[in-house]
Symmetry: C2
Subunit: 890 residues, 2 copies
């Protein structure tokens, strides 16, 4: 096998004069190697070196040995470095020392970081000392080499060596590593060598070539260590990617007080300000900055650190870094995260990569870079993480503060909230009216709790999933909410909640981070949302580019107003059942459900219709001429009924029947699998009077608004949970008859369209027929995911996390659409639907319509609009723009 | 529009000398008209006539009038009849009278039956009397015409005319209609005419042509009457089919005592014996036989009716009918259901059609007809209704007895059972041990009840659906079972069950018809099943023809033996969870579920494994070299736990824990939608020790049997509820590791295959990838139906009946596969699977695999076998043979 390996293509040199690779070869050279090559080509001051390819790593994994000829090739590459630098590896003067570092396509915990100062030994350490006229520096470098080599190549524990240093400090009263004198360093080096001989049975290798090969093998071995393997499993990184190994000429940050090392972002990754943001340490090498033994100093001048910044103390070096940063940004068209070494005021770059940043920074940087003519508008849009920009819309906790986690559960609705614990909705309302900020803590919430939920600033439940009542309502309200905190136990009687170790009482303060799903003890500091000018600019640019219309899922006046603030182009999903949950309405709703016959139901519906008319009038008035898709009643009846004995008794008194009768109805309506039960159009066909009432309410609202404002609303009426075309036709006939009757009665012509949710696999598979009878499809990808995957969202929490960690799913399929199953159905169904009925309008109204990856997929299909919760609208606008840009580029 | 209608093609004549149509033109002429034409061509004695096509009916529906020229054409056709018969319509001698009858493609309630004696009026009734020298006959004929015409054409209520007859009988002391004398008939005719003038404001039409046209229009109008329309809706008959109208020369069954009318089957439709089976009435016309005013007599000689049969009294006519029957059977190759009239000993045929029959008759007739060289074996197989032959395997109630229905609910498992009511499993077992026949009556059954269920001869529950514990277990046991009798209320304390009006006590006798879902009061007579020689013959022929293999769903020794008796070719679905329900096993099973950690689970599993090994040994021993597909644990954990307080306390005592702890576990395990919850492979991945134990048990059983019998079983191990390929791979890896470890331990090489259930839309859509990693697919169409349609089988009873009646589904999708949704997925998935892995074996193991229509569909796909419950195996064998024959013919 060895014979087949083309070892001649295994080494890529880089230097200012001759560079083989570039940034595009990340697969072959790893991120680090590819970018070092690219920087060299740009003429940036990078110490020359060479990268051994990831293919060699793969060879090494298979054969447990390096390719036959590689050693020779490495020798030749080192020779080249010797020629370039005029130094000699293991020479008798002008000593060439090398570093070896790993670098895969992406950086990965568990991978070897670096071994520095390779090439030093007992004999030539003196040559180094002589050259720089600094024995302490030479010994410190040698000490570092031995320590790193022992740990990384020989596998000895880091702690053994740290213990030597610690002991020596204690013995001699030395505080900082940098203070060790020559004798002390010699003593340490000896102690190190003794440890090596004792624990690895071989002495520290004195042959520089052996050191170099050992370090290279260690890089490849680190690809196979346990932590790296499990990280790859979790993140679905193929083992076959492999890592590159980069060998580079040493420069010395530990040479003197005009030397140093540091890391920097070319812009502030937290707020996006255009400033070098990072830390440095003078007279230091490699890990010293991160190790925390000495406190690093800021690179740029700040209020807090006056007189300590690189900018002030070493303005010459600072200027070099500034120039390099600007060059890098202009070249990579992205903010960079760099590593540098200063040797005698001269700045060398050791690494550059794209910088991670907050949502806030991301937006500001994108806009700034357009203004600075570094990127185009489209490039700027792609730079922003569409999912994370919702973070900008909710209050957030400040980063820098002590946090004690009380519980971690499902992040049902984002944002930060700090408030006092209350255990029931009534108390929540009462306390809120007194001006207190409260967090409602319940096992689960129910329709009765609505007012209490409105009054609370956050909601925490110990049961339920991402579509539980609490989660759905909280998202609708834009309130932080955490659900399914199963390890918390509530004692309603004593008014306590406990996680087993800590017990909290009514009135205790907690802080909810709805974005992370974390509950903290006590009061954390928050910061309010500021939709910045840059945010608005990004939104504006997005709107110029995107193809998809973006609508909102909303049914209340508040949500609708919020949606329009975010520039929603209409309502794509108005869930009428939410209108029946509120205080006054729930009573006739329940009367309706408990009626013994159609007459009883009609009596109760006659009470409900006025609420419903008013609701629609309010929405139509706000929306003006924007479209609205109204979904007729969807959930099963039992969702509207009370569950606890207290609530049942109270309801019985309210409508004058026996509690036992309510219990009988509850039993009769209870279902084994409500998700697959008597709901949606199935209710509409069993009790046509309900849908008739709803359609009449819609018509009356149109009529009333037309008289008042002289505008005519043309609603899109949507039938939920359709299985096939016949079911749809039956329901549609009833609706149209109802409207026609009202047209006669009111002497008015309504304009409207009728469509259906596609939320069952069966409907998707029957799209050709269904499309013939409707004006629009709206994909309800929440339910479609549940049925297609046979996965109950409320029950999946028991194993879904494991499934994502184990790679059964790349992402939670309720968060991002499962393209191979649900995605296939949406694709097939929208295609078939539009072929069958070219006028068919197609949208998606599941929560996936507010998630960036899903939107990129959905944009590739033949659909017209997406509809999501108000707070996800900015994400939807940006992500559909990104999808369109990616589409144009591809 | 009238101008475009080709009226020249609207009339089809039939007579012994000239016939336009034939039996194939059923769409155009209706069943009656087409078969009259066919019989005429065969030379059978049919009174000549003509049929007006269904196209005219459609014209009439659109235009509310007959086509312009039709009247002329009818006149010409009547003229032809006059020429043929030498009689004159409205003539002054040799009077031609006509009948008009409706006839669509299928016979339909609500359609007009017939109007006889058309052409008579006040003036020519005397001519008829003179010709036959019988004034009474002529007046009786006229009286009948007026009565039928008034009802059918003029729309007057039948009761008004019956009242006249009744009054006259009472006034004059007359008993039978046939006894009215001339004066009395004249009085009746006058009374009839008065009624007509009073209620329809026009006199009875004296013009024979007006009578004829009125009758024809009445036929077409009857296509549009309410009852016919709603029947068409229910049965999905398109309105566009229309009905034909047949006009035919009258022959007179009421002419004299050598005349009569009757209906007959060419073979006994109840048991299939080769004998004319029917009734006749002498001196009677039309409806007299059915009307029940006089008791009709048997056609063939029987023990009970000696001296009254047509065979004895009118052997000449009997012989003519015999000869015609034989001719018809030979021609149509089917048993016929005929209508005839005898006029002066001469037999005329008025109708023939395929006869309905019982399953028993159907089987016997099919085999007999092959022996008589009337049909081929393949034709014989097609003649038998595959679904109904299971009726032959269960005890049945005799038809002729008084039945008082106590309740009607879901027919969960077929068969008849008579026994004493017991209200708990323990008592059932106790009483059964005393030799009593008991029926277990429970709200629901649970695993504890298994022994009691075994001891009972039938099971009745007031809750649960077709997949409830009771239903599944009972079908497995082949015991009659009715579930979900929601209107029954059980009082366990008093040991009573009531339907609101009748209350039954412990020990009272009831009779269950599991095929109909009916519970009767008291003891009904049953007949035992007799798998006749003919039944065995049909099965044998089926096996010669069919392509699909047929296996059984079975896991107990009893079921497996039963399956092999029915010639199952192996087990296609062994549901291992059923093995954990029985008495001894349920305790460690529950211990396992309630264990706090993996160690606790392993301890409990160590107890279970021995039961499981023994179970598999028993099955492998019976099956010998036949294949077995073993499905690993599928249901959610909570299905194994007790529900009631009593059971919980008893379990707590049994395993020494607190009831409160069990309740905690129950709460923790409870799911919103268990169907979509933590079950199947999801459990297997969360608790791999469970599936490992099962696979180890399989291996140990193979090993043990190989030592004992020197045969090696190669089981098919099946992973349930797979969503995608990655999930499958993860589970498969664990299983294979387990087997490999055992191979080392036992020094034995196992041969086995690993496959998966395809029971989620997601799996079907991911078949290309999944197939790469498995040896077989088995479609679980029960769950696939639930998820594809979003329809919980346990909850659907609330609306599914309506859905079938309203035509949303043609058949209950849990009974017959929904081809447009589930069928599409099975098709797609099996195609993709076999393309991706050509060695892939594909089967279907849902209940559809035992239903004839579904099997016809499944046979058209690229699948290898079907697997159904033992008692459905004959259906599966026959239906797959039929599918193959239909396939060859098409």
């Amino acid at each position: 096998m060895s014979a087949n390996f083309e070892v001649s293509n295994s080494i890529y040199n880089f230097s200012l004069s001759e560079t083989d690779g570039d940034a595009s070869q990340i697969d072959l050279l790893g991120g680090k190697g590819a970018n070092l090559a690219e920087m060299s080509k740009l003429g940036i001051n990078v110490p020359p070196g060479f990268t051994i390819t990831t293919e060699v790593c793969n060879y090494f994994m298979k054969n447990k040995a390096l390719p036959d000829n590689l050693e020779d090739q490495i020798g030749k590459a080192v020779k080249k470095l010797e020629n370039l630098t005029g130094r000699i590896f293991n020479g008798s003067e002008n000593l060439l020392l090398l570093s070896v570092r790993s670098g895969g396509r992406i950086s990965m915990p568990g991978m070897m970081d670096s071994i520095l100062n390779i090439g030093l030994n007992d004999f030539n350490v003196g040559i180094l000392a002589k050259e720089f006229n600094d024995e302490r520096f030479a010994l410190d470098s040698y000490r570092r080499l031995i320590q790193m080599y022992s740990n990384v190549v020989l596998g000895l524990e880091h702690e053994r060596f740290e213990a030597v240093i610690k002991n020596k400090k204690r013995m001699d009263g030395v505080i900082s590593d940098a203070e060790f004198n020559i004798e002390q360093l010699k003593w340490i080096i000896n102690a190190y060598k003794n440890i090596i001989e004792r624990f690895s049975k071989v002495p520290f290798p004195q042959d520089p070539n052996e050191q170099l090969l050992g370090a290279i093998k260690a890089v490849f071995n680190s690809w196979l260590n346990k932590r790296a393997i499990s990280y790859r499993k979790i993140n679905n990184i193929p083992d076959t990617w492999g890592t590159g190994a980069t060998v580079q000429t040493m420069v010395y940050g530990n040479l003197n007080d005009f030397s140093g090392t540091g890391v920097a972002f070319t812009r502030n990754p937290s707020n996006g300000n255009k400033e070098l943001y990072g830390e440095y340490l003078m007279n230091a090498q490699g890990e010293d900055v991160v190790a925390g033994i000495r406190t690093p100093l800021p690179i740029s001048k700040t209020e807090l650190n006056k007189g300590k910044s690189l900018e002030e103390l070493f303005p010459e070096s600072y200027k070099q870094i500034k120039e390099i940063s600007s060059k890098l940004e202009n070249h990579f068209k992205e903010v960079q995260d760099i590593e540098f070494t200063i040797q005698n005021k001269e700045v060398f770059l050791l690494q550059t990569r794209k910088a991670k940043r907050t949502a806030q920074a991301s937006v500001k940087i994108a806009v700034d870079m357009v203004e600075e003519n570094i990127v185009s508008k489209n490039q700027a849009l792609i730079m922003v993480d569409a999912n994370s920009i919702t973070d900008l819309l909710h209050p957030q906790f400040e980063d820098e503060q002590n946090k004690t986690i009380f519980a971690k559960a499902l992040n049902a609705s984002p944002g930060a909230a700090v408030g006092e614990i209350v255990f029931d909705a009534y108390t929540a309302e009462k306390e809120a009216n007194k001006g207190r900020k409260v967090i409602l803590v319940r096992e689960e919430t129910s329709p009765e709790d609505i007012n209490g939920m409105y009054s609370s600033i956050g909601i925490l439940t110990t049961k339920g999933g991402m579509t539980s009542h609490a989660a759905v309502v909280a998202r609708g309200m834009g309130k932080p909410c955490i659900v399914g905190a199963e390890n918390l136990i509530i004692n309603y009687e004593n008014k306590t909640i406990s996680n087993g170790t800590t017990t909290l009482n009514h009135g205790d303060l907690i802080s909810l981070d709805g974005s992370l799903g974390e509950v903290y003890l006590g009061e954390l500091k928050t910061q309010p949302p500021i939709p910045s000018d840059e945010f608005n600019q990004i939104m504006k640019w997005s709107d110029e580019v995107r193809r998809l219309n973006v609508r909102a899922n909303a049914e209340t006046v508040n949500d609708t107003k919020k949606a329009l603030e975010f520039n929603a182009e209409g309502i794509g999903l108005c869930r009428t059942e939410h209108m029946f949950f509120e205080g006054e309405r729930i009573i006739p709703m329940r009367e309706m459900i408990m009626a013994e016959n159609v007459q009883g139901r009609k009596r109760a519906l006659a009470k409900l219709i006025n609420f419903q008319i008013k609701d629609f009038e309010n929405l139509f008035e706000i929306l003006e001429d924007k479209p609205i898709t109204i979904r007729l009643l969807d959930p099963p009846m039992h969702e509207f009924l009370p569950k606890s004995d207290v609530e049942i008794t109270s309801l019985a008194n309210a409508i004058g029947i026996l509690p036992s009768y309510i219990n009988e109805i509850l039993l009769k309506l209870s279902e084994s699998n409500p998700m697959l039960g008597h709901r949606g159009v199935r209710l509409g066909l069993t009790y046509p009077e309900i849908y008739k009432m709803q359609v009449e309410a819609i018509c009356h609202a149109i009529f009333n608004i037309s008289k008042k404002k002289n505008t005519i609303t043309s609603p899109e009426i949507m039938i939920p949970l359709i299985m096939n075309a016949k079911e749809l036709q039956k329901m549609k006939t009833i609706l149209i008859e109802t409207i026609q009757n009202l047209e006669k009665e009111l002497e008015f012509n309504f304009t409207y369209s009728i469509g259906t949710m596609i939320e069952l696999p069966s409907a998707a598979l029957n799209s050709v027929e269904i499309a013939k009878h409707v004006d629009f499809f709206s994909f309800g990808t929440n339910d479609l995911t549940q049925t297609t995957l046979g996965l109950s969202r409320d029950d999946a929490s028991k194993f879904l996390n494991d499934y994502v960690e184990n790679g059964v799913f790349n992402i939670d399929p309720f968060v991002s659409i499962d393209i191979e199953s649900v995605g296939k159905l949406v694709d097939l169904s929208s295609k078939n639907g539009k072929e069958s009925n070219p006028k068919l309008k197609v949208g998606v109204c599941g929560e996936h319509a507010g998630e960036a990856n899903s939107i990129i997929f959905l944009n590739s299909l033949n659909i017209d609009y997406i509809s999501c919760s108000p707070f996800r609208i900015p994400t939807a606008r940006l992500a559909s723009a990104q999808a369109e840009i990616l589409n144009q580029n591809s």
